[in-house]
Subunit: 332 residues, 2 copies
DNA sequence: TTTCTCCCTGCAAACGTTTGCTGGAAAGGG
DNA sequence: CCCTTTCCAGCAAACGTTTGCAGGGAGAAA
């Protein structure tokens, strides 16, 4: 009942396990007729290579670890989905760990993956993570690293991030093009690269249109729905007729606030969010949002990892484009 | 530079690798002083057990495979998240595969996981899957199986499903209690156990309240937003003043339809959906929905798997409770 | 014919752990 | 003091694969 091994194939054909191994792994020093016979017999016996034994001998695995703050978040779910598709296509298995936004858990996950002898690690850091030393400690010389979305500078390997500047720029310009005159901004934490770049994109779009950048209508640390609502109260009081938001939840708060204040969206008030969460197309009026192509980010990250593993590159920085999805909330 | 092995520890202390192995794995036949010395030295040398070698020797891994239609779906994302938490706590690694609702991919995933020598497989079937023979083929005698949510009968191992009957019953009763008189139902595919049970719950609630079950206002194969809209057009024409839906997307369609027809929700028309997707609390009016506790389902499935692996049980059937989350759309 | 290549295949040693068996030493019982 | 039991540790054989080295056979060149 035990699984068939290369030895079984070998004795069945009167050759040695070495030859079978070579035939199966595509070694050129095997006569074509021998190889054919071996492949045939292997199929016949339902042979499946024992990955553990193979890996043990070769000292490396075909497992890639993915570490994210939370699996059950739309963005990360999509990234993982895209990555998994590419990895499985390329013959890699994916093991997944979540950090729950905690540095402790991130360290633990790294340890687990190191123990699992993974070939590489794809990671998006927890919000508690600020330096990358624990990463250097955990991964040896040989484990490849790809950071995506939330990245830390100064680490080896590749980086995959969104073109946040351009996304924000396009969104803001879209509002300007639709005739909105005073556009407020709901932005996140300015010490995070990602949010900073979005703010810069917003500012650049205003500048290019010859519109003033008024710090009074830029609301920082505004990422939750409640924050968005509160900040928009102030924005409306300050005479804004539109909001660019670097998140969808805060944009939703803005939408609710505007409607509550008797403003018609998009006639009186325009809104564009970021992330293109599913709900943006389900609320009414349907909300415009900057799509970050998380699935594509996953695919690209996986490809980058594969290039790293094949030695094709030592590290690269990849920018994933964004797409502004215009819906009712900003189009008049 | 190569990692330290038990042999390194052994020679450093003048004992044999056997003793070190036993000490590290908690074998009682090791003198306490010896064990202490070994543990100390192991820490000192930064020893990490080589999982591949260990698994090869033991013929089993500490990896559990999870197969789902799509990782990036809210429900499955949450299930996986819950399962991963339990598994990693118990020292198991999780590798994830997605089938994209295709039977072909499901077979491929099973093959990959079998090759990876997983200890167990947690699966929720693709929509194309109707029989379980490919499962029996793929998993050997020793691989444990836990099916969740979408299950097939006649397979070994454990099953974890929602209490669909009760969820639908409670939702329908809630509508009745709120004074709705003619309650239509949007149901899914009646050849799927899950949808069938929901339909039965709906019917039972009506029966218990002495209300007639009118087949004319039960709309099958209605799971998408568009279907929900169309079916609700008919339901309104048929004099319904409420809708129980076995999905949230179709419920959303119903909501949009009612509003479009100038009906006030919940005053004129009541709606309850199923799954408690994030967007249900984001639309207006906020939508009532049956929460299926996917996170809990993940946790329970993982626990069931661990019990299976420890031999504590041969198979069990676990029912995850549901909770009706009442929001504006059904409460008057 | 001899010698030199070039293919192909076999031999055997790894990779790092685990574990059945064996046996010595200590402890306990009579 | 001897015999039995218990405790602890070593020996060596696995687990299934890969791979460096060696060697046999066939053909070609000399």
């Amino acid at each position: 009942m035990s699984a068939t091994t290369i030895r079984d194939i070998a004795v069945a054909l009167g050759v040695t396990p070495s030859t079978v191994s070579r035939a199966l792994s595509g070694n050129p020093y095997v006569k074509e007729s021998t190889r054919a016979a071996i492949l045939k017999k292997a199929r016949e016996l339902g042979y499946e290579r024992n990955v553990m034994a193979s890996n043990l001998r070769k000292g490396t695995t075909n497992i890639v670890g993915i570490i994210v703050p939370r699996i059950n978040r739309e963005f990360f779910g999509n990234v993982i989905s895209g990555a998994e598709a590419v990895f499985s296509e390329a013959g890699y298995s994916v093991v997944i760990c979540q950090t729950h936004e905690r540095l402790e858990d991130e360290k633990a996950a790294l340890k687990v993956l190191a123990g699992e002898q993974v070939a590489g690690i794809m990671i998006s850091h927890s919000s508690e993570t600020v330096s990358g030393e624990h990463i250097l400690d955990a991964i040896g010389e040989s484990v490849k690293l790809v950071q995506f979305d939330r990245v830390i500078e100064g680490l080896p390997g590749s980086i995959v991030i969104n073109d946040d500047f351009k996304g924000a720029y396009t969104a803001t310009k879209h509002l300007i093009d639709n005739g909105y005159k005073r556009i407020g901004a709901l932005v996140g934490f300015m010490d995070t690269i990602l949010f900073k770049r979005r703010y810069e994109g917003y500012a650049a779009a205003l500048a290019d249109a010859g519109m003033p950048l008024d710090p009074d209508i830029v609301y920082e640390n505004t990422i939750l729905r409640e924050n968005g609502y509160e900040s928009t109260v102030k924005a409306i009081a300050a005479g804004c007729d539109a909001i660019y938001s670097s998140g969808d939840f805060s944009a939703l708060g803005a939408l609710e606030c505007a409607l509550k204040h008797g403003l018609k969206v998009p006639e009186d008030f325009g809104i564009v969010g970021t992330a293109n969460e599913t709900f943006t197309s389900l609320v009414s009026p349907r909300m415009s949002s900057v799509d970050q192509h998380p699935f594509e980010m996953g695919r690209s990250s996986a490809s980058a990892m594969i290039r790293l593993l094949s030695g094709e590159t030592q590290g690269e920085e990849i920018l994933i484009g964004t797409t502004l999805v215009t819906r009712q909330s900003s189009t008049r």
